[in-house]
Symmetry: C2
Subunit: 598 residues, 2 copies
C-alpha cells in the first residue's frame, strides 16, 4: 500500500530560512503566523492528510463515484466524514476573511496545505479546493448580501462550491458559450444550458452545492464580452438559510475517466434554474479571471503533489527491492542481491525527481507569498511588483509543474518495474491522477500561449525584466563565492538562454505571430527551468550559510540540499540550450504542411 508523509521540515526550511516570512509580519494575518504557530498548523495539517485523507486514496480510486437513477451521486466511503474533518479543522477558511468565519492566515499556508492534501488524496482535495475557489470569487465580486448568504456556510463546510465554465463545444474558447440567462423580473435570472466536466458538480457530502455558472444574458454581445457569472444554488435557500426544493439543477451523468475517480465529474443541466448575477453584467470572464491565478497555482501544486507522493513511494521501494549487484561491488553481500537504490540509473531517476520537487515547492511558496503581498500589502509598488510576478509566473507554474510532475509520476512508477503497472501498488494511480493537471484549468498549451501572448510583453515586459534583474542581481552578488560558483555558472548560462529567447521573440514574433506560437511551449519550459534553478541557487546559499554558521544539527540536511542543487544544475539545466535552439528555429517547419498533409 502506498505511503505518504507530509514534508513539513522541508516546508519550514523554505518558509523560515529561505523566504523568511517573519519579515512580512506587517501584512494582515502574518503577525499571527509566528514560527511556532506555523509549525503547529502544518503539523496538524500533515496529520490530517496522512491519517485521514491518504488512507482513502486508493479505496476512493477503486470505488469511484456513482450516479444513482434519481440523479444523486454517491461518493466513495469515508469522503463525507473526511470533508467534515477537513472543514472542521478550519482548513477551508484558513486564509479567508474572519468576518465570514475564516482564520485570516496567509494564503501561503493554504498553498502548503493544498500540497499535502493533494499528495495524500488528490481526488478528495478537489472538493474543498473547488469550494475555496467559489468562495474567492464570491468574496471578490459578490455583493455583501451574497457574501453573507453563502460564505459562512461554505467556509464551515455545510455547503460546497463549483465552477461551471465548459460546454460540450467549448473549453478553451469561452466566447462560444451558449448557456443563457433570462431575467425573471425580480432581480434573479432563469439559467438554462448544459455544462460539462464539472468537478464535484454533484455529491453526497454537503447539504447544498453553490454553483457558479457562466452564461449569456439574453441580448448580450457575442463572444467573451457577453458572458456573465451567476450564483446558482442547487437547492433553493430560504430567508433563514434553510434548504428548499431543487432549483432545476441536475446532474445528467458522470464521466468515466482516466483518473481522479473519487471526484465526480458531472454533466450539469440547468433548466430554468434561478440564479443571481455576480458582479457586473457581461463581465463574467473578468470575475473568473481574478481567481484564475490562484486556481492555476492550485493545479500547479497538484503536479508537485503527485510527483512528491510518487517519489516517496519509489524511494521506499528502491531501498527495499533486492535485485542485482552494485557496479562497484556488492553493497549487502549477506543478502541475495543489493537493494536497487545502489544502481546509478535508479539514483539518477530518484535524484531528478527530488531535485524537481524541492525546487518546485520553493517556486510555489515564493509565488504564493507574492499572492499574499499582492492582496494584503499596504504598499502599492510592492503590490504591483508582486502582481506582475504572479501574472508572469502563473502559466509557468501551471504548465511546467504539471508537465514535469506527471513525468515524475511516470518515472517513479518505472522504479517498481512490472509491479508499478499493477493497480495494487498505487503507483499507476498517481500517473492517472497527475495526468488531468496538464489539461484542466487551461491546457498547458494554452498556458504557454498566455505566457507568450499576454504576460511576457505586458507593460513593456516589466515582469520579465524584474525577473532578469532579480536573478542577475543574485548571481552578481554571489558569483564570487567559491563554494557557490560551480552551482551558479550553469544558472548564469541558462539565464543567458532565457534572455536570448526573449530577445528573439521581440525581434521575430511581432511581425510573425506564428513564431511566438511555435516557440511558446519551449519558452514556458525554459522560464520554468531558470526559475527552478534560481530557487536552487537561493536554497543552496541558505544551506551554505547555515553550514558556515554551524548548522545547528542540520548539517546532513544542508549537505543534502547542496548535493541536490548540484544535481539540478548539472542535469536539468542543460535542457535550456535545447529549448533555445527550438525557439530560434522559428515556425517555418512547424507550419509547413497543409492540414491534409498530416
Amino acid at each position: 500500500m502506498p505511503v505518504y508523509k507530509a514534508p513539513v521540515e522541508d516546508t519550514l526550511f523554505l518558509l523560515n530560512d529561505v523566504f523568511n516570512i517573519e519579515r512580512y509580519n506587517n501584512l494582515p494575518g502574518f503577525a499571527d503566523a509566528t514560527p511556532d504557530v506555523v509549525e503547529a498548523v502544518l503539523g496538524e495539517g500533515a496529520r490530517l492528510c496522512e491519517e485521514v485523507l491518504q488512507p482513502l486514496n486508493r479505496s476512493g480510486d477503486l470505488e469511484g463515484c456513482k450516479r444513482n437513477p434519481d440523479g444523486s451521486v454517491t461518493t466513495p466511503k469515508g469522503f463525507k466524514q473526511a470533508y467534515e474533518a477537513y472543514a472542521g479543522g478550519g482548513w477551508i477558511g484558513l486564509a479567508m476573511d474572519p468576518e465570514y468565519g475564516g482564520q485570516g492566515l496567509p494564503y501561503t499556508l493554504g498553498a502548503v496545505m493544498n500540497e499535502y492534501a493533494s499528495a495524500a488524496n488528490m481526488a478528495f482535495a478537489m472538493y474543498p479546493g473547488l469550494t475555496m475557489g467559489a468562495i474567492a470569487a464570491l468574496y471578490v465580486h459578490g455583493s455583501d448580501e451574497q457574501k453573507r448568504a453563502y460564505l459562512p456556510k461554505m467556509i464551515e463546510g455545510t455547503w460546497s462550491g463549483t465552477m461551471n465554465l465548459t460546454e460540450p463545444h467549448c473549453g478553451t474558447d469561452l466566447g462560444l458559450i451558449k448557456a443563457k440567462a433570462v431575467p425573471n423580473g425580480d432581480g434573479s435570472y432563469a439559467i438554462t444550458g448544459t455544462k460539462i466536466f464539472i468537478s464535484a458538480g454533484e455529491q453526497d457530502i454537503t447539504e447544498n452545492i453553490i454553483h457558479l455558472v457562466l452564461a449569456r444574458i439574453e441580448g448580450a454581445p457575442a463572444g467573451v464580452k457577453g458572458i456573465s457569472l451567476f450564483v446558482v444554488p442547487r437547492n433553493a435557500i430560504g430567508e433563514d438559510g434553510s434548504i428548499g426544493a431543487n432549483n432545476h439543477v441536475s446532474c445528467g451523468s458522470i464521466e468515466h475517466k482516466m483518473g481522479i475517480h473519487a471526484n465526480s465529474t458531472c454533466v450539469m443541466n440547468y433548466d430554468g434554474a434561478k440564479g443571481w448575477l455576480i458582479g457586473e453584467e457581461n463581465r463574467g470572464l473578468n470575475a473568473m479571471f481574478v481567481m484564475m491565478n490562484e486556481a492555476r497555482l492550485g493545479v500547479a501544486i497538484q503536479g508537485l503533489s503527485q510527483s512528491e507522493v510518487a517519489y516517496q513511494n519509489a524511494v521506499a521501494y528502491a531501498k527495499d527491492r533486492l535485485q542485482g549487484r552494485s557496479l562497484t561491488g556488492a553493497k549487502e553481500p549477506a543478502k541475495a542481491a543489493d537493494p536497487i537504490i545502489v544502481h546509478p540509473d535508479v539514483r539518477r531517476t530518484l535524484m531528478s525527481i527530488k531535485a524537481f520537487n524541492e525546487a518546485a515547492r520553493a517556486f510555489v511558496i515564493w509565488n504564493a507569498l507574492k499572492s499574499d503581498i499582492a492582496h494584503r500589502s499596504g504598499d502599492a509598488a510592492e503590490r504591483q511588483a508582486a502582481d506582475d510576478q504572479l501574472g508572469l509566473m502563473t502559466p509557468v507554474l501551471k504548465g511546467v509543474l504539471t508537465d514535469i510532475g506527471f513525468d515524475n509520476a511516470v518515472k517513479a512508477q518505472q522504479m517498481y518495474g512490472g509491479h508499478g503497472y499493477i493497480a495494487e501498488s498505487g503507483m499507476e494511480q498517481f500517473v492517472r491522477d497527475a495526468r488531468i493537471a496538464m489539461i484542466y484549468e487551461g491546457a498547458n498549451g494554452v498556458q504557454a500561449m498566455d505566457l507568450i501572448g499576454r504576460k511576457l510583453g505586458r507593460d513593456g515586459g516589466r515582469a520579465i525584466m524584474a525577473f532578469f534583474n532579480e536573478v542577475g542581481g543574485f548571481l552578481k552578488e554571489n558569483g564570487e563565492d567559491e563554494a557557490l560558483k560551480p552551482l551558479l555558472a550553469p544558472l548564469q548560462a541558462s539565464l543567458g538562454h532565457l534572455q536570448q529567447a526573449t530577445m528573439w521573440f521581440m525581434n521575430n514574433a511581432l511581425a510573425k505571430p506564428d513564431n511566438a506560437g511555435a516557440g511558446a511551449n519551449d519558452f514556458m519550459h525554459l522560464l520554468g527551468l531558470v526559475s527552478l534553478g534560481y530557487m536552487w541557487a537561493r536554497m543552496a546559499k541558505v544551506a551554505q550559510d547555515k553550514l558556515k554558521a554551524g548548522a545547528n544539527g542540520a548539517t546532513e540536511r544542508m549537505n543534502t540540499k547542496l548535493a541536490t542543487a548540484r544535481f539540478f544544475m548539472e542535469r536539468s539545466l542543460p535542457e535550456t540550450a535545447a529549448h533555445l535552439a527550438r525557439i530560434t528555429a522559428g515556425a517555418d517547419s512547424t507550419m509547413a504542411l497543409t492540414a491534409e498533409q498530416f
Copy 2:
C-alpha cells in the same frame, strides 16, 4: 470512437524506395517477396487489423479478462474469433519455416504486421506475439521431436505459447529464480514453482497452451548459470496430438493493471507439472536470450504503434474541433471558430509525433532487415555485420521507441483537452497501454545498461564504429548536396555529440563504472536520436531524388517527407547536446547521497 488506418503507403516507401528490399532477393524467402506480393500481403494485413482487431480494442479494454472460480480465464468477446482469423490468415507463421506450416516470408514483413496489429489492438496482438516468441525459441533450441510435436499446432493457431521468467522476488535479476525441476527418470522433469506477470498465461482462445518455463534443476549451480528452459504444456498431449488432462498447471489469479486489460496477466502455479528440457541443462538463459532481440524489437514496435494510432486520432480531432482563431487571422471565418490544427502549438505537437513515427518505422524496418540478414544470409561477414548492428540497436529500439512512444501517446491525448481524459475518447487507453512497453521485456533502465555495459564495448566497439562509419560516410557522400545540406548539418553535429559521448565513456567509465551507469539512459537516447536522424537523412535523400526524377504522382508526399525531415532536424536533434552535457557531468552528483538522504 477511435480510428486506425494502417500506414501501408509509408511502409511501401520504406521497403521499396528507402531500403530497396529487392536487392535481398538472394536471401531465402525474399525472392517470393516481390513488390506485388508485399503490397498484397500488407494490404491484407491492414484490412484484418482495421476491420477485425481495431473494433475490439476499446470493448476489450472495458471488458477485460476474468478469472473464473475453476481457474479458467475468459477473454473479451470476439478475441477467440479474431485469433482464429489471425492464425487462419497465416500471420502467426508468416516468417516461420514452411516445414512446420509457416510461409517462410521475411521476418521484416512480420515486424510490419506487428506494427499494424499492435496499433489496432495491442492487448490482442500480444496473444499471437507471445506464441510467435515461443515458436522461435522452440525452433532454435528444441529437438526435432519437440519441433514436430509443437510447432505445427502453434503455427496454425490451435495452441498458443507463453514465456515464464519472472517470479515474485525476481524480474531483472533472473539469477534469483527458485522454480525447481526434478527429473522424473523418464526424460521428463517435475516442475514446481510460481511465476508472475505471465502474459496470456491462461485464456479461452486456444485448446492448449504451451508454456516455456525457466527453472532450476535440482543441484544446479546458483545464479544464472543454473537455470534451464522447459516446455510445459498446460494439458498433457497424447501420442496422436490429442489433448489430455491438466498437467498440474494452473492460473492462481490475474492482475488488475493500468492497461492492456484484454490480455490476461497471470500468476501461474506449477505443482509438479511435467516438462521437458529445451536445449542444454543450465543453458536456459542462453536459450531465452537468443530470442530476446526479436522480442525486444517487438516491444519497440508496440511503442511506435501506440504513437501512430494516437497520432492518427489526434490529427482527426485537430481538424474537427473548432476552438479559437488562427494567430494570422481566421482561417474558416464562416464557422464559429477555426479547427485547432491552425494553432502553432497544436502543429508543433502533431509534427513532433509525425516526425518520430516515420523515422521510428524506418528504424524498425532497417533493423528487422538486419535480423533477416543475420539469420538468412549465406555470407558470414554480412551475417556478422547485421548481427553486430542488431545487438547494438536492440536496446536502443526498445528503450527509445517505447519512451518516446509513450510520451507521444500522452501528447496526442493532450490535443483532445478534457475530452482526452474521458475513457470514451479512447485516447487515455493508448496512454495506459503504451505504458507497459517501457517496463516489460527488460525495463528501459535495464536496456540502457545492456547498451552501455555489454553492447557498446563488445568486440572492441566494432558495432558502434560501423555505425559511425555508415552515418559519417552518408554525410560525406551527400554533404555537398545543396538541398540536403540544411538537413545534414544538424545530423553532423549530433553525430559529433554521440562520438564525444562514446569517447568520454572510454576515458572515464572503465575505472569508474558508476560513470557508465549514470550516463546510460542519456547515451541510449542520444544514440536513438542520431539513428532516427540518420533515418530522416536517408528518407530525405530518397524524397529529393524522386522529386528530381519527376516523383511519379508522389510530389506532395515527397514534399511532406522533406518538411517533416526538416522539423526533426531542427526540433528533435537539439536534444543531443543536452544528453552529452549530462553524460559528461559524470556520476558524482548522482551518487552523492546515502540511501538515508533520499
